[in-house]
């Protein structure tokens, strides 16, 4: 008897992510949700530029690779090509979504574009080797903030859920993390809701997953998961920031 | 071969582009080749708007007119700007309500029509443009109300049938002036 198997929506290709990286968990959650909702065959995923640039290789559904930051615009096109049948998600990191692609993010949210956005926030540019991200914490040491992020010099991190919650457009915004079993369960619930919302025609649903980057944070995987609790969550509090249909507005 | 190069010019809002479109459609219904080219950009808002219409027996080459055979000037800046460019032996139609000076050239035929005043007096103050078009058609070889009506029906949507009659009246008024 198989007690634990890969979801059907994930294929056999081995992932390129670093040891301890949480992308693998988040990929799996997205794939499990696709399986459970029975939508793999009509889902089109849009991959970003960043660590998850090759996400298109791992999911069994049709995939599109977008230019850096443009995934919400590409997703808008795919969705509108066949709104009845296409289920569309983007999978984006913090540099992609909150820096170079901020305009596309905000406007897709403002239009309440009926897509699902999985936003992986690990407060650093991983693929290029650990530079400061729009979500890097004040004081955080990165390759391009070697003395720690000086907010007087380069400003403050962007809190995406808080910011987007000010818009009338989006349907659902929730911040979760995946650094414990309980947190993973909760993250899955949020991701499932974000897809279900799309199926129900409710509109723009974004799940921000606070994640780790042991490699570029210079920590062991265990230390990195702890760092999420100690540093990330206090700055990026978990919770539902908007759930229009439920009448919730944080 | 006959080619008529016509330049219509006035303030934005005087219906220069519409008058040009009417002329172009008249050419089209007469079986001619036509082109219509507007000036565009910020100058259209309150400044001088102009429109080049070419009607020809042959395929129209350049739609841009450097030296018009006919100039329809609906305000003084237009006459000032384009009077010199009209070909020798050409025609100038001027709205004499708004243009107080006379045309200085003596090698062109000039028609002064108080179009703006006539339009106001007859209860259609926005149709000075069509009064001038009526005169222009008459000068170019005769005004046929039935033909003109057919053309008007192409430029005025069927929903605005009342507009068609008023435009026709304005055209006739110009033709008879």
């Amino acid at each position: 008897m198989v007690v634990f198997d890969k979801p059907h929506s994930l294929n056999e290709m081995s992932m390129h992510y670093c040891p301890g990286c949480t992308h693998g968990i988040i990929h799996r959650l997205v794939a499990e949700v696709m399986d459970e909702l029975g939508i793999e065959g009509r889902t089109i995923g849009v991959a970003p530029v960043g660590c998850s640039v090759m996400a298109y290789n791992y999911f069994n559904c049709d995939m599109i690779e977008a230019a850096h930051g443009r995934a919400p615009a590409v997703a808008t096109g795919v969705k509108r090509a066949d709104p009845e049948n296409h289920v569309v998600f983007t999978y984006q990191g913090d540099g992609d979504l909150a820096s170079i692609g901020m305009a596309e993010t905000v406007h897709a949210a403002a239009r309440n574009e009926n897509i699902t956005v999985i936003f992986v926030n690990n407060a650093i540019y991983g693929m290029t080797g650990g530079q400061m991200a729009p979500t890097s914490l004040p004081g955080q040491v990165t390759q391009t903030s070697p003395y720690g992020r000086d907010v007087n010099h380069c400003g403050y991190p962007i809190k995406v859920c808080e910011m987007l919650s000010q818009l009338d457009g989006p349907e659902y915004l929730e911040r979760v993390t995946v650094n414990s079993v309980k947190a993973v369960r909760n993250a899955k619930k949020a991701i499932k809701k974000a897809f279900q919302n799309q199926l129900d025609g409710k509109g723009f649903s974004l799940v921000e997953v606070v994640s780790s980057c042991p490699t570029n944070w210079g920590l062991t995987p265990q230390q990195a998961l702890k760092w999420i609790d100690e540093k990330m969550i206090p700055y990026y509090p978990l919770g539902v920031y908007k759930d229009r249909s439920a009448g919730e507005d944080k | 071969m006959s080619t008529k190069q016509m330049l219509l010019s006035g303030f934005g809002g005087q219906g220069i582009l519409f008058a040009g479109k009417f002329l172009a459609y008249k050419g089209l219904t007469d079986g001619k080749q036509v082109s219509w080219l507007p000036s565009y950009g910020p100058e259209m808002r309150g400044g001088t708007a102009s429109c080049s219409v070419i009607i020809s027996d042959e395929a129209v080459g350049s739609p841009i007119i450097s030296n018009p055979d006919i100039l329809v000037a609906m305000n003084l800046p237009s006459l000032d700007k384009f009077e010199k460019s009209v070909v020798s032996g050409g025609i100038i139609l001027a709205d004499s309500t708004l243009i107080e000076r006379k045309v200085e050239r003596d090698d062109v035929t000039v028609y002064y029509i108080p179009a703006t005043r006539l339009a106001s007096e007859n209860g259609f103050p926005t149709l000075a443009n069509m009064i001038l078009m009526g005169k222009l058609l008459e000068v170019l070889g005769g005004f046929n109300a039935e033909d003109v009506k057919a053309t008007l029906s192409k430029v005025i949507s069927a929903k605005r049938a009342d507009m068609l009659e008023t435009n026709l009246k304005a055209l006739k008024l110009g033709a008879d002036f």
């Binding site: 793999e40 599109i64 590409v74 090509a81 | -």
Partner: protein, 355 residues
């Protein structure tokens, strides 16, 4: 044949696109092409299509990327500065081999430039406008009728070759009205088994992608793409020759410049100068053959352009510098006059073609 109607060039493009089966338009306002967006905004909702005013040119071209990936006919339009912004997306579309139609109603540049007509984006269009080795099929209409016809043709070529087709027009072509007949035999879009429309759990997943991290593989992809380009060069070049049979001198001009030049050619003929014109209709692929032929019989070629001399380089390449090629131009929104072109013709005729 149905009655001809008077339409602006911009409107003719929009209507022809709809006739060609395009049901998705994304754009951002910019003069002098905004009529296309306005037309689409009015029409698309009534025919089950989608018009969306994007937050930027960059977003617009990426929405086009999305619809193209889903295998539908899709377009965007802009004017020069906006095309620069779209260039990132155009490069990605080339790298992902996606078909779409892009319209550039050119205005004077560089920078914000002006809003009056220009042809100074010739290099940008024919050399690909973004990064990397790629081409777009570039179509240069010289009448409102051609604005419509080449729009339909552009969609067909895009689908046939999985490439972007670009209509390279200018402010004059976009704004002018001429009679146009809108009866076309539109070739239906071919099957697109590569499109990302959902696997239906019936096949392996499709991936639309321009990333290729293995140099050997990326090189091969480039080689294959250029084999396709070579085929297109040999089979799809379009041009019109005007009075070239006995011509001793030739004009090279496209779009609005060719309209002006035609007047000058006619006038020069009246004055006894044997001059003709070669009008490229495709700028990429550039119609090399008629220029090669002309190089063996004319004494000189004059390239008439609304740029500081861009197409002239292709004319020189095509004629392998066998005959002198001179430039007759205006820029910045100014347009050459027939008189100016006539003077240029007379000048080369007096010199017997020698520079």
């Amino acid at each position: 044949m149905a009655d001809k109607v008077l339409m602006k060039g911009n409107e003719a493009i929009a209507e022809a696109a709809i006739i060609a089966g395009c049901r998705h338009y994304f754009g951002y306002p910019i003069t002098p092409q905004t009529e296309i967006a306005a037309y689409m905004a009015k029409k698309m909702p009534k025919i089950g299509g989608a018009f969306l005013q994007a937050e930027s040119e960059i977003a617009a071209i990426n929405m086009v990327y999305g619809v193209a990936a889903a295998g539908r006919r899709v377009m965007t339009s802009s004017s020069s500065p906006g095309i620069s912004l779209k260039s990132e997306g155009l490069s990605y579309m080339a790298g992902s081999d996606l078909p779409a139609l892009v319209v550039n109603v050119q205005r004077g540049g560089p920078g914000l430039g002006g809003i009056q007509p220009s042809q100074s984006d010739y290099f940008q269009a024919t050399r690909g406008s973004g990064h990397g080795d790629y081409h777009m099929i570039v179509l240069a209409p010289a009448s409102v009728q051609e604005m419509a016809e080449l729009t339909v043709k552009g969609f067909e070529l895009a689908d046939t070759y999985r490439m972007t087709s670009m209509i390279l027009a200018d402010g004059t072509m976009g704004q002018m009205m001429e009679p146009v007949s809108l009866e076309f035999d539109v070739k239906p879009a071919p099957e697109k088994p590569w499109a990302t429309v959902g696997t239906k759990l019936q096949r392996k997943h499709n991936i639309v992608n321009s990333l290729s991290l293995v140099p050997e593989e990326l090189e091969q992809l480039n080689f294959e793409r250029y084999e396709k380009y070579n085929y297109i060069k040999e089979n799809e070049a379009m041009y019109e020759e005007y009075l070239m049979d006995d011509a001793e001198y030739a004009i090279a001009a496209f779009g609005i410049a060719s309209r002006v030049a035609k007047n000058a050619v006619n006038e020069a003929r009246k004055q006894g100068i044997k001059v003709g014109m070669i009008r490229p209709i495709t700028l990429w692929p550039f119609p090399v053959a008629p220029f090669k032929k002309a190089a063996d019989k004319v004494k000189a070629i004059i390239s008439v352009e609304l740029s500081m001399g861009q197409m002239i380089e292709d004319v020189r390449l095509a004629t392998e510098c066998k005959v002198p090629v001179t430039l007759c131009n205006r820029v910045g929104g100014m347009i050459v006059s027939p008189e100016q072109v006539l003077e240029a013709i007379k000048e080369v005729a007096e010199n017997g073609g020698a520079k």
